[in-house]
Symmetry: C2
Subunit: 311 residues, 2 copies
């Protein structure tokens, strides 16, 4: 059989799936961690592709949604701060050399936005914001039915907008970006900072503390952990108000692991967002919803985008 391969490469995990030429039901689906000892991320990507290719199948094309910034025209990764070794990495070219089929590379969050717009929570909307909050904060924007991309495909990096000037260091090397304040690692950092400053908390004994650990502690009533989510959520709401003034969307979709902490994050976010929006008309008809496709948004997004690009 002939298949299309979709990949979604994030800072934490790689998802791969094979699809028939028509339809969104995967033939095979595979997930693994992004970093594996003794193996490059590119090797892991190639293995994932083979893993989901049914025996005797013919790969027609590969679509890759991956962490950027990248050039979607050439599939060249400029500098993916969350993926080890991917600085000036010609991903599109390398995959083409390996598999000898057309390769489409796009920003992972753009493709998750595209997936939600085509098949998920955003169906029927013309102005959509999508944010994925996990290791980093990625985003994708549809404005008047057009994917915001920019002249070099580097647009829609809503996670890299300054929220607190001279604030915490971001993975990109700059300071005070939304990603440095409201992403998973940022929540952990802020929690640890509060602890260090003498804040009282149920001791969290995990050596590798994750945002999920902080989230569980907060759900169990730990006030310091709650404060960390309050801080992240409130600043996320402040940033959203700015994005609302910029894009006037009819829907904001939240994906990513951290957004699964639910009201811990979204209550302070919504409160601050409503407070900071300058004119009530921006909020009329505005929906704020969780991702419908969850972790598979990027996979079906790049699938639809690859089909459209190669059609």
């Amino acid at each position: 059989m002939a298949v299309l391969i979709s990949l979604d490469i994030g800072g934490t995990s790689i998802r791969a799936a094979s699809y028939p030429l028509i339809g969104e039901e995967p033939v095979q689906h595979f997930k693994s961690t992004t970093s594996t000892p003794g193996e490059t991320v590119f090797d892991r990507v190639c293995q994932s592709i083979r893993q989901v290719s049914p025996t005797g199948s013919e790969i027609k094309a590969i679509g890759v949604a991956t962490a950027g910034p990248l050039d979607p025209h050439t599939g060249f990764i400029f500098d993916a701060p969350n993926i080890p070794g991917w600085k000036d990495f010609p991903l599109g070219e390398r995959l083409q050399q390996e598999f000898h089929v057309p390769v489409v590379v796009e920003n992972d969050a753009n493709m998750a936005a595209y997936g939600e717009w085509k098949f998920g929570a955003g169906v029927g909307h013309h102005d959509l914001l999508y944010l994925t909050i996990s290791t980093g904060i990625g985003a994708g924007v549809i404005s008047s039915d057009v994917l915001i991309s920019g002249c070099r495909g580097l647009g829609a990096e809503l996670g890299h907008v300054t929220v607190i000037p001279d604030g915490p260091l971001c993975s990109c090397g700059k300071r005070g970006h939304l990603e440095a304040i409201s992403s998973g690692p940022a929540i952990v950092s802020y929690y640890l900072q509060l602890l260090k400053e003498g804040g009282k908390s149920t001791p969290l004994n995990n050596v590798l503390l994750s945002a999920r650990d902080v989230s569980l502690a907060a759900q169990a009533g730990d006030l310091l952990a709650r404060k960390a989510f309050q801080y992240a959520g409130s600043h996320l709401g402040l940033a959203l108000a700015g994005f609302i003034h910029i894009f006037n969307p009819s829907i904001i979709i939240l994906g990513g692991g951290v957004s699964q902490s639910g009201v811990l994050l979204t209550d302070p976010m919504m409160e601050r967002m409503r407070l900071e929006v300058m004119e009530p008309n921006y909020l009329k008809d505005l929906q704020v919803l969780p991702s419908k496709l969850g972790d598979d948004a990027g996979l079906v997004g790049i699938l639809a985008f690859t089909r459209q690009t190669l059609s």
Copy 2:
């Protein structure tokens, strides 16, 4: 003769011009202040239209570029903070009742962006940011050849994005927006604040101090006045870096009276912008240019937009 009327209504002045059905050379052009004692702004608008209508001419349509936020579908002004009395004001309807011709209403900065894109500094670009810095900070964005508008036409309000959380009060009622830090009145406020804090300056004796007064003092070497422009320019550059991450434009066009202060504003702006952009590829091929059409950008923008809308 048959004419199209264009109006550009800002916080400081109203511009009006009549144009032939084809071509961008005005038949008549008129400018006046927006607020006149004993007269509503709407009366002033109607008078301006009559002023530029040649004797015996037939008005075919009226296009109005005005301060928002507004609903471009109905010509309803929600709340224009810089125009006295325009809150929940049905401008489109009122003009239609008065002149009995089709009326197109759009955001003034959007139309200045549109004008620069069609006829000015932005010709040939596909991804363009336009900012006008004067009484307020307005903006218009073209992304992939599409005017960013949003589901209710309220988008592209780049002047109302938070730059300093809990910062100075903005004309819109919220705090720390770009407009509250880098607009003309904001520069004056910051200068006065520095004076009040004991800063040494050549005394500026004007009762109604304007950003132009501060600019002239800075050009004459006054260090406090320079500091005020440095502050406004640097924060403008910080905000631009965020907009660059969001839109990845190939050109940024600066209009408005305050931007005519030149390097006083643009030197600290460019320095901060370059410092805050996370990835050098955003800056490759990025042009930052002054408005080519100057104060007439909005007039020819709404002219082109009206023609397109009614064609």
